[in-house]
Amino acid sequence: MSSCTIPIANTRSVTGIRTAKLATWWIIGSEIVIFGGLLVSYLLLRLHNLDWAHDAAHTNTWAGAFNTFVLLTSSYFVVLAHQAAEERNGAQAYRYLWYTIGGGLVFMLVKAYEYGTKIHHGITLSSGVFWSFYYTATGLHGCHVLAGMIIMAFVAHAAKKGENLHRVECIGIYWHFVDVVWIFLFPLLYIAK
């Protein structure tokens, strides 16, 4: 905690929910409407333009399925990190958090492979509205994965020293949310053909 002393306000908890966790939930609420707006737009246009199914046939279901598996597994690790943090075992939490970051990295690599092959075949953001949605939705989600990995590295660093262990749960909740978004992106973009 560099420059700023923690205000009394932060130590109060009228609702009985810790302030940091409460704020995490509010952030997730605001993320729901961001992704919601994008997915509602996609869904409506998709249902209207049934011929997008031809485009959707070119998405790589197996890569998508593998990535779902990777994210589910990383979610499992981050919840173990939370359990370790609650037991005040910072070193253990640190280890599980890094497993999670590793999962995120695998996810991003598979994503990069998918993007690479698509672009290699001449399918880009502007190759049609389906592909615009495909890249925008997965890209926005990828940004969230990346941001989660970076924040998690900081949380892990502190957790190793036993500091701010309550943040492990907050970053975990965020990571699960990113997982849930992917759980819906997967059928919307990869399975529905």
Binding site: I17, G36, V40, H48, T73, D179, P187
Partner: protein, 116 residues
């Protein structure tokens, strides 16, 4: 600092490995479902299972099953707004024809899809 906080909800942890296993099995079903080729079954395995998986992650991994109710309300309000948004703009964005009107621009492009 963290000791002065109320350590909220020191609840017992469920068996996370079992939950993870269930999620992976559900994932496999949702991938295999479409291979059978029945559209309705595909919809159910794809989106039905997605909902189940999301609820499981929310309930067990995000601990919403033991969290205070207000968090549910926050999330449900945001989700409800999105459903409302979907159904209210659907007549404009999804259907491009009504009783006394139709959209010429979309009819040209999608005539083969929409009308048959």
């Amino acid at each position: 600092m963290s000791d002065s906080h109320p350590t909220s909800q020191a609840h017992p942890h469920p068996n996370y490995f079992k939950i993870w296993g269930t999620l992976v099995i559900l994932l496999i079903v949702s991938v295999l479902g479409p291979l059978i080729g029945i559209p309705l079954l595909t919809l159910m395995t794809a989106f039905g299972i997605a909902v189940v998986k999301a609820l499981m992650v929310a309930a067990y991994f995000m601990h919403l099953n033991v969290e205070k109710k207000i968090i549910w309300y926050i999330l449900l309000i945001c989700l409800t707004l999105m459903f409302l948004f979907f159904f209210v703009i659907a007549p404009d964005i999804m259907n491009h024809e009504g009783t006394n009107w139709h959209s010429i621009g979309s009819a040209v492009k999608n005539s083969d899809v929409v009308h048959h």
